[in-house]
Amino acid sequence: MKNHPKQRELIDYVRGTSKKSAHVGSHVSSCKTCSARCKRYALLLNASDNSRLDPSPRVELALRAAIRKQDTGGIGSLSLLFLRLRMLLPRPAVLYTVSVFLMGIVLVASGWHIINEKLNVPMHLSYAQGRVYVNDNKISGDIRVRNKSRLRVGKNSLAVLAVNSSLTMNITGESSLMIERIRTESLDTQTEFFFNIKSGQIVSKTGVKRPHVKYFYITPTAKIFAKEADLILNANEDETVLVLKKGSAVVQSLETEEEVKASPDKKYVISSDIEAYDLDDDET
């Protein structure tokens, strides 16, 4: 009767971590039972084909952004710079340098305010829980949103977007959208907000009425113009599901350009066409 190696010894041998590989190998080569066992272990332990498993370049870009954010350090760095400067220069020179520096900041800041005014939109991310990214930067607090910002909400995460006091939007993971504001200057000045939703779920609620503001929700399959509407929207590449709770909305299929005026308390499924359903009890 042969002395077969123990199971753990065979596993170590197959994994290449055995300290007795010569001895075990010699036995395996002459024992059909152990050889068959080793083959089965090898099948189970063989690495899968991971050649196509790669993180996207976005991760490295986001990491670089995170490193730079940490390096600039905000006010802390400025204080340190000031201290170093003070040590290097005699006092009168320091005072002169600092005053020139401060004047420069004031001039730049006032210019920047003018530029920045055009880049910001009157909305801010009032709450973020979990993984929420604005332009690939992870967000954890209240921030203003710039025009054409890309917002991404990870799984099991939540972001709340507030547009002044006229609209609040809860965005749950996994969602991806871009925010754009278009302002038309004419006799009747209009501001249009476009929410280009690639995927995800949003719940929108209106607040203070603003008649000159329009909201458009663009998904891969639909364009929805909402007027003072409370709605729930689910979107993916294949279809968009809209439930209008309050207000009015016009729904258009992007593929067929079919247009429907949505009624509250109905569910609309928009793919190549628009289908309307009564809401189930659990959806009301």
């Binding site: 199971q7 753990r8 994994r15 272990y41 099948l43 189970l44 498993l53 993180p55 991760v59």
Partner: protein, 169 residues
Amino acid sequence: MLNEQRIIEVYRLYSKELFVYIFRLTANQEVSEELLQDCFENLIKYAGKYGIEDFNIRAFLYKTAHNLSVNHLKRRKKIDYVLLEEDGDYYSPDRGVEEFKAKELQGKIYQLLERLDEKSRSLFILCKENGLSNHEAAEVLHVSERTVRRKMADILEYLEAELRKTGYF
């Protein structure tokens, strides 16, 4: 403290293997990317506070990846391992029967692993996909090498038994 150049070097060195590990645990590309980013951000913070030797970086990253992934798994619902084969892995004449069977077996293995606790699943993936030694795996999981060997034996026995029932062996 690690400078930007060094961090990016480290990222390029280890991101692939870490991503494979995280993805095999979570089966979700986007989540895996987020967790991968978190791993490296944790490394930056840790290195900034305490400093870290080059030879410890890999182990640190694996431990972080493990902790983040397990925490994520505990929060989420059941993983659908069909996703792993979403890239159109069906039999085709170009692929060959053997390759197709191997892919099918891998899918089945991961479905069976789903029934195990997160630590066992992690251990198996670390050894199978990432090729970690008993010592390295023990360090990541905060267990002894003896435990690693024992658990691997238990997992393989379990997989063998289940696959035999379904005709793979």
